[in-house]
Amino acid sequence: MRRRGTAVLAAAVLALAAGCDATGAESGGTLRILASSELADLRPVLAAARKDIGVTVKLDYTGTIDGVQQVVDGTAERAHDAIWFSSNRYLALQPGARAALGPSVKTMASPVVLGLRASVAHGLGWDRTRPTWAAIAAAAGAKRFTYGMTNPVSSNSGFSALVGVTAALADTGAALDTAAVDRVAPKLRGFFAAQRLTSGSSGWLSDTYAADPGRVDGLVNYESVLLTLNASGKLPEPLTLVYPSDGVVTADYPLTLLSSAPRNASDTFRRLTAYLLRPAVQRKIMDATHRRPVVPGVRPSAGFGPEPPELPFPARRQAADALIDAYFNRLRRPSRTVYVLDVSGSMEGSRLASLKSALTALTGADTSLSGRFQRFHDREEVTLLPFSDKPGPPATYVVPERNPGAELARIRNYAGGLRARGGTAIYDSLERAFAVVGEQAAREPDRLTSIVLMSDGESNAGADAGDFRAWYGTRPAALRGVPVFPILFGESATGEMNDLATLTRGRTFDARTQSLSSVFREIRGYQ
């Protein structure tokens, strides 16, 4: 009995000591980090950090421009101590951003390169000699290969590729300025003509390619993502990594303390970053994620190509923004975007109101940074197809390159006039949407096409899921290449919506845990 008493006393003392430690910040501590979504692959490393140094890391994920927006408007600091994006370069160009950022430590590196199916790379001779970006752009313009790339405002890999190819084509030897963007626009249009697949995240792009490698000849993505794909054993033919000889833009994953963070967070930050730079941890990161180590003692694995030269990233915000604007409004293949929108009786009230405001935000009404780049772009063809008991008449708008404001206002007016009544004929309406896409594509085939389906409940009129699947199976291959992005909202039939996303190689988005507006913005990355 007495012995147990002593043991309990000793345990209590130890607990007390541990408690002191936590407040003295010698161990323990939690760091709340706003992070790029691709950092989800570090979970095992962070779990080990918790075990080894007692630091708990809570990651919340965000896209590129949304993350920048949150730092700049101050929402990031409300719930986070630090940010961990693939790169801070675009963020640092924003007014006020530098003041919001504290100490920063680069944790790993991965250049953005082109991965092409081995046979295609061989046919182009790029497995033997490294092409310049100009040669790559010329081959793309001549349709000698096709590729997928992420959306530059949603994902850093797409943005890095856009900056890299433009800087290389401008060939000034120095950082890009606004005039250079205009000068190389024709060549860039050639490069982007071969882009057949877009995505809001590097991970989804990689998964989609793995699921159907016949869809494009390759991907522009992080070296780490391409090496991971090759190592997965899922590809019938490996990707050859093509490192452009004139250079790349590299993600360097700076873990950055926010200057608003409390003092104990800055101690935790220092211990976590010191831990991440330990040679053993760097090796573990390299083995798990195929990203390059950033400490000298760790020998890079054989899978990495030789160190490519780094292309300069713009020093001026105007140059970066002009490039993004040019990409969406002039350079990329324009999109064809169809919204199938549930306006049945259950949408009455706040649901319809949030649908209207989500649509309105995309017509240029949202003047934030993300709003500016996520609006309906010049040249984009937008079709709104409201439905209840049956599909309503589709309303199609093409945003002109000059003075887009008037057409955007028409979309806004239309959205404002939506009324809720009646039942829910999801599958009839979806079939109608595919028919509309078919007619539009017959007139003008060269558009990146996708369908958004927003419904707050189960289908209770017209065709059911089985009928749709049978009908879909008889469609021509071109139509079956159009992804559907169902939004889970209200009392959505989650299973059916997931099946639909799988069938059409789209993905679902959840508007039950976040606002419909943020989901609509997130989907912009996939359109």
Binding site: C20, P103, G247, R292, P309, A315
Partner: protein, 353 residues
């Protein structure tokens, strides 16, 4: 027996915890906690357990917050601190305009350009670099290359680094970082016809050439750790030439982080980054005095790559680690005054738009 042992263990734990708690409270145990705001290059020095032990022997526990030297000079609330320890004498001068105080200059470090053997040899052929007795980097010839937009692949006989990029030294962001300001001080001296820039007319004359040195690089990192870490880890592809403190290079050598073929070059001319401690009260003064006079602390500073009052300490570290440092710095010029440097930095910042 076992029972006795556990009682003793528990007793020892209690005593230990009590001691820890008392020590944690700071001054009550005879230890004084001193708070300083420092240029981030000295963070590793103050974090060094050996440094903390020596300070503790003198009854001091020093807690530091890193900040940019310009911020320390202008925007940091000095009321929270016992001393300020920026990395340059212009910043220190500025603080002394705000606060009447003494100054200590316990250590210094010249600006250097770090590179790789093939690059050094290329630039030697181009007449920009000489190698006797240490590698020197001719800033006037370099500025001439920049003015003519010479690219790496435009250098004759270049097979070692045939890259389309302009020849440019990588730096930090001049708007936030002291090392970039020191680099600007060097370039301004040369661009001004080998004379320290002293008046607005001279500022206007040199600004266009200086702005290009930064803007043509594109995005630059905020802190001096950034580009030098790239140099160490990612190598020649990303960072063929990087402006750094000599201390960073020597420190990397001491920690075994240099790879074969990494080359240290001294710009001609160069400037000294004088790490200047401004005591803001008596506690801060004790730290300043100790850092300047305590042989053990000076020795530890030398191990972090800094030059101290006793040149033998730095020389010993360099010899032991086989870093080919310049034992005597000859071609060192003065930095412009705080206000002139500030005007130049503001001028460059404007060019960023």
């Amino acid at each position: 027996m076992r029972r006795t042992f556990s009682i003793v263990l528990a007793g020892a734990l209690i005593v230990g915890v009590v001691i820890a708690i008392v020590q944690g409270r700071g001054s009550s145990g005879g230890t004084v906690t001193v708070r300083g705001v420092i240029g981030s290059e000295k963070q590793a020095f103050f974090d060094d357990p050996a440094v903390r032990r020596v300070l503790a022997r003198h009854g001091l526990k020093v807690e530091v917050d890193p900040a940019g030297s310009r911020e320390i000079a202008t925007s940091v609330d000095l009321g929270k601190y016992d001393f300020a320890f920026p990395s340059s004498s212009p910043a220190a001068d500025k603080i002394r305009q705000r606060r009447q105080a003494g100054r200590y200059t316990p250590f210094s470090s010249p600006m250097v350009v770090a590179t790789f053997q093939p690059i050094a040899e290329l630039l030697e052929k181009a007449g920009v670099v000489k190698r006797s007795p240490v590698w020197t980097f001719d800033v006037a010839r370099y500025l001439d290359l920049v003015a003519r937009n010479v690219r790496w692949d435009g250098l004759r006989g270049n097979t070692a680094y045939p890259v389309r990029k302009n020849i440019l030294v990588s730096t930090t962001d001049p708007r936030s970082s002291n090392s970039a300001a020191m680099y600007l001080a060097i370039a301004s001296y040369v661009a001004n016809g080998d004379a320290v820039v002293r008046n607005p007319a001279e500022e206007r004359k040199v600004l266009p050439a200086l702005s290009r040195l930064f803007l043509d690089q594109g995005y630059t990192d905020n802190s001096s750790e950034g580009p030098f870490a790239d140099y160490l880890a990612l190598g020649m592809g990303k960072t063929p030439l990087v402006c750094a403190y000599e201390a960073q290079f020597v420190d990397a050598a001491v920690r075994g982080r240099l790879k074969p073929g990494m080359v240290l070059m001294y710009p001609s001319p160069t400037v000294l980054s004088k790490h200047t401690l401004i005591p803001l009260d008596g506690r801060g003064d004790r730290v300043g005095r100790l850092l300047s006079t305590d042989a053990e602390l000076q020795r530890l500073a030398a191990r972090h790559g800094f030059r101290t009052a006793d040149p033998a300490q730095f020389a010993a570290v360099a010899r032991e680690r086989r870093v080919p440092v310049a034992p005597d710095l000859i071609d060192v010029v003065d930095t412009p005054s705080y206000d002139t440097l500030e005007h130049l930095l503001t001028g460059v910042a404007k060019a960023y738009g």
